[in-house]
Symmetry: C2
Subunit: 277 residues, 2 copies
């Protein structure tokens, strides 16, 4: 598996991907899952991919020369000529479909799903930055103010912290920190996700000049975050009172004081003296 996450906040876009690829548990490799497409002053686009590696690699290759027809002008539309990120998402979706036409049947015959999912985000010209998630069928959805992030791959471990922290108002620095914490939790709980991490942080309107970093186990900030988060989470946990069983307790919120409106748990008993069965 893999884990990729991207967020769109008012200040810009943040992309983070791990680099572990595995086929079974004894064939583990490092493959980078992020690609940046840039024409300075005009467009800045980042693509993250998960799923079958042969599919995601080929889609990325096809994408670079792939075109669809512009419905208004009849001209070919590519990732470099599209005037909106929506059209870039369409070009990418079409590239996925082209590969499906080429490889889908042969994969099916071998019992392999045509499984790929991608996160695509960026900015073109004066349009606001946009973020999309593209599925295996080449269809896609877009992030919105109420849903500011997308995840692909091993998404569940790192979801709670995103749900609690991220909103459109989150600063670019905080969003970066939040994605790194989400990744750190995933790294801790799932072996199929591994370092190094690729991080792309893009500030709205810059059309280039993004922070593009590869974080390995020696990165000063990631080491600091990794070493801080565990103890701080522990301290937050310790700051919550333990449950108090006694009803007579003077504790503020004893766990047993409230009578539940549900029936008691099913309990099957035998008296102490009974013989069985």
């Amino acid at each position: 598996m893999t884990y990729c996450v991207a967020a769109r906040v008012n200040e810009g876009l943040v992309f983070l991907s791990d680099s572990r690829t595995n086929a079974g548990i004894d064939q583990i490799s490092t493959f980078r899952k992020a690609t940046v497409f840039e024409r300075e002053g005009d467009r800045f686009i980042t693509l993250l991919s998960a799923g079958n590696l042969s599919i995601s690699q080929s889609v990325r290759e096809i994408l670079q020369s792939h075109s669809i027809e512009d419905e208004q002008t009849g001209e070919p539309l590519t990732l470099w000529t599209a005037t909106s990120m929506y059209d870039v998402a369409r070009v990418l979706g079409s590239a996925v479909r082209e590969l499906h036409q080429r490889d889908g049947q042969a994969l099916r015959e071998q019992g392999v799903d045509f499984n790929v999912s991608m996160l695509l985000g960026g900015q073109i010209g004066t349009e606001d930055p946009r973020l999309f998630q593209i599925y295996s069928a080449g269809n896609f959805i877009e992030a919105a103010p109420e849903t500011t992030y997308f995840q692909i791959g091993e998404a569940k471990y790192g979801k709670p912290v995103l749900d609690r922290i991220l909103s459109s108002d989150t600063s670019l620095e905080e969003a970066t920190k939040c994605l790194l914490v989400s990744m750190d939790s995933t790294l801790k709980s799932n072996l199929s996700v591994g370092l190094p991490l690729d991080l792309v942080v893009y500030r709205t309107g810059q059309l280039g000049q993004a922070h593009i970093l590869c974080l390995d186990e020696d990165n000063a900030y990631f080491k600091y975050l990794h070493n801080s988060w565990g103890p701080k989470l522990r301290a937050a946990f310790d700051a919550i009172d333990n449950p108090v069983w006694s009803l007579e307790s003077s504790a503020e919120h004893p766990i047993a004081r409230t009578q539940s409106r549900f029936s008691p748990l099913k309990k099957v008993t035998q008296s102490a003296g009974s013989t069985a069965p």
Copy 2:
């Protein structure tokens, strides 16, 4: 789906289950997933179940009268006559297999997996408390000092906090709090897990007298925990420095200072003046 989690610490056993069952997203019901078997002074056993509801309900029903042959005495061994939790796990595994014989083929013909997983823990006589996870094939594994907890159902969201907090030395109260935090994170991120919760807290050696509570949205302690954890997690998050991009920064751990040993991210560029494609 559902979420059940159980922990074995030195002081005893803690079991926690939600009560949501869904078939698709528009058929949601409340079914309790915990059962307690008790003969005071002799044995205290708790069973949590996940998977296909028709299977887990039937297994629980079968279990109550099911027996296997004791290899040494030839006598029938039931949940009430077994002298070790290991043998109770064998009786439960055998009950799963009996149901598989009865329903497995018919389910397969309808394209339904024989899918059930259970957590079984308790204490019999002077034996130490033990905790088992039982699979669909009736086979099982046991928790050990290095791996003190088992989860079934929607396990991923709530795993990071267990990995960071739980060990054999964790007190019974702290373990209870930890399982509740794990459940709270899961409730927040996955709609297929829902209140009320069934909580069973058993102290080693008591052979009865466990705390058996049903926690709904009005429970004073769960409300307190739910309302505290979000803000405390947020405060822990805020206490970690944001990343600093600048290399010249006086910050202790700027994210860009360390040179990664990996190659820079793949970047496809076009010069500003180029025409496409």
